[in-house]
Amino acid sequence: MTHMRTPTASNPTRRAALGMIGGGLALSMAPVPAFALSDAQARQLIDTALGEVNAAIASGKSGAALYADFERIFVRYADVPVIARSALGVAARGASSAQMAAFTTAFRGYISRKYGRRFREFQGSRFEVTGARPVKSFYEVKSIAYMRGESPFEVLWHVSDKSGKHLFFNIIIEGVNMLASERTEVGAMLDRRRGNIDQLIQDLKSAG
């Protein structure tokens, strides 16, 4: 295993955030047969999705209009319901289906704003897919990210076809796991509301 080291303590956090920005919006899993994801396909899929993100930025839109574009891309390439449910953690068990639907929508907007806001930092980056392999019920696509002025670093994409098509559900940047990070964040927001999911949903609508 090669380690791409970060020169400072503040770097990993930045990469984590940046990776989520790019990654969250980046991975495309277009219709390919289950468990037949080759390196070439994976590379092409990532390029396609990154192209969409870059096009959104190049459109000259800003603020809400740009975040709306990111949200559409996120919905197309990520398994949003699974990511949202996982971020909510055990509290998802006690939630009604109406609450889950409202939470998922609010979460989607929150993620798009949170990572979309700083997306410009990520411009000019390049991903090189180095391999794909099955893990448990899903696929792990390994890539190296090249950012201007930074040492290259590893980004892993977890992709599943359990939803009926290939969608990503987790991104791991130099060990930092997006699902774990968002579960910590959403868990803290829920604690602040003493476990009240409806209030959490209201908070999420303006968070990020």
């Binding site: 295993m1 380690h3 791409m4 080291r5 970060t6 020169p7 400072t8 303590a9 503040s10 770097n11 990993p12 956090t13 930045r14 984590a16 955030a17 940046l18 699974v82 990511i83 449910r85 996982s86 909510l88 953690g89 055990v90 998802a92 068990r93 949170k114 700083r118 930092e121 893990v135 448990k136 019920s137 899903f138 792990e140 002025g149 040492s151 290259p152 977890h158 599943s160 359990k162 559900f169 987790n170 130099e174 060990g175 930092v176 796991n177 699902l179 774990a180 990070s181 579960r183 910590t184 964040e185 959403v186 868990g187 803290a188 927001m189 604690d191 602040r192």
Partner: protein, 247 residues
Amino acid sequence: MFSRALPVLGPVLVAAVLSGCTAPPPASGVHDPYEAENRKVHAFNKSVDKALFSGGNKKDAIPEPVLRTVSNFGGNLGLPGKVLNSLLQGRPEPALSNSFRFVINSTLGVAGLFDPAGSSFGLPESDTDFGETLHVWGAGEGAYLELPILGPSTERDLAGKVVDSLIDPLGFVLDGDDAKIATAAKIGSKISDRLRFGDTVDSILHESADSYAQTRLLYLQNRRFELGMQVENDEDAYDPYADPYGQ
């Protein structure tokens, strides 16, 4: 020679013993018995950060190339210590590449102000420290710690930091004003990085619902990744489809 080596050996042994004494690290998860104290330190660090770095004005006052140059200069001075640690870990390859890096950037890079080794010679910095050396020697991670000003750490990494400051080869070569300049450069380098990566740090430190928990999670996950502690164990991989509620 011996008079120089002796004061070094002492802390090395102390650190090794200290780290060895702490509870064995959980392979994953968080071992944070000092959470109450850590949270107080975190609140303090956050207020310091806010006082020093809040507001876009300060951030934009210094242009990015200047920040990068300061960062390069300080980073270059840290290389001899990294070479030493790689050797202590029995890893000649990163020791060699960092040595080349140090030579190239100290000469062609004008005393480390620029980074031709990284940009033209394909020699990015290979980061390491005595905390990693302790890990390689078998010391456990110990409890999570948040240190005043220095930020997130663990018992093992704190011991590493102490030893690193004592065994830095530069410290044996430089003295007087040169040593002060080197120390200032390293601190300047940290501050530059804080400014360069400002937005991301801001979002974690000042916009998270629980910035302490978020910082702790990011630090531990990334540190374990750096040290290769996250062995590729597919059984531990998180699969939300197998466990949609995320136990």
